[in-house]
Symmetry: C2
Subunit: 134 residues, 2 copies
DNA sequence: CTCTTGCTGAGACTGGTTCCCACCATAACG
DNA sequence: CGTTATGGTGGGAACCAGTCTCAGCAAGAG
């Protein structure tokens, strides 16, 4: 009795859109883009879709500095982290084995169990750096 | 012409309160606590104060999962990270030299400069673990 | 085909945060 | 020490992301 989300036009359109994008987008941006494409999808539906997708590990979620949640379809389905360009939004997926080992070790040193971690890296990518110094 | 915040009763009271606490608190919680103490400080003022304090590095800010900002007066004024107990909120400050070195190295490997990082650890502390298994 | 059940969407609602603006206290200046 | 400009204060309105409501609809089971 596993709960599998029903396959609907709206969900398909949202996934399609996410496939086309390679940067993190907010639910509101996705909604706008869908409307621009001419499909009539409700904002609430977009929220529900990205939420269920993220629960199933099909998309990754990040929180921006101003508290907005942004979503991205990721190549790696396993746990990983992101290195995001602060200027153009280009995102690189990182396997963070080393950082995870560090986290577990630090937790143990302070008597903490089940240590989860939030690790995100923000930098300036090579091409933006070049553009800035030009 | 450096902008130094004016010293007022309200700001002093907020800092005092933060000194007494050793867990992260939201602006709203701080506001409530101040009112409970009998001091009439506006909510807007609390927001302004914690904001300016965090900009000056006098308090640390974290975002909870539901998008609330929480604040804490930290012992270390230099850059550091936190290991928070998910059950009791107990917080340990971590010097994360190793993680930072890793972040810089990963950034460089992908051609990224000025790599900032967000690293937070959440776990279950020894005493909460004991209480849970009791 | 029919029925059940989950999905949809418009708009109302919530809760955290910021803005507005008249009033007030601080600090600088004479 | 009084005056003044400047920035802080506070209450409420405004804002915005996100959630809830509920009637209508459509996917999938039987």
């Amino acid at each position: 009795m596993v709960v599998v989300p029903r396959q609907t036009r709206q969900r398909a359109e949202i996934l399609d859109l996410l496939e086309d994008l390679d940067e993190f987008r907010s639910a509101q941006q996705l909604h706008e883009m869908l409307r621009a494409r001419g499909s009539s999808v409700g904002l609430a539906t977009v929220y529900r879709a990205v939420q269920s997708l993220s629960e199933h590990g099909d998309v990754d979620v990040l929180r921006t500095e101003d508290g907005e949640s942004v979503y991205r379809r990721c190549a790696q389905r396993s746990h990983h982290h992101h290195l995001v360009c602060r200027s153009c939004g280009r995102t690189v997926e990182i396997d963070a084995g080393q950082a995870e080992a560090w986290a577990a070790q630090v937790g143990a040193a302070h008597g903490f169990d089940d240590v989860d971690h939030i690790i995100e890296l923000v930098g300036t990518c090579a091409s933006c750096r070049a553009a800035a110094t030009a």
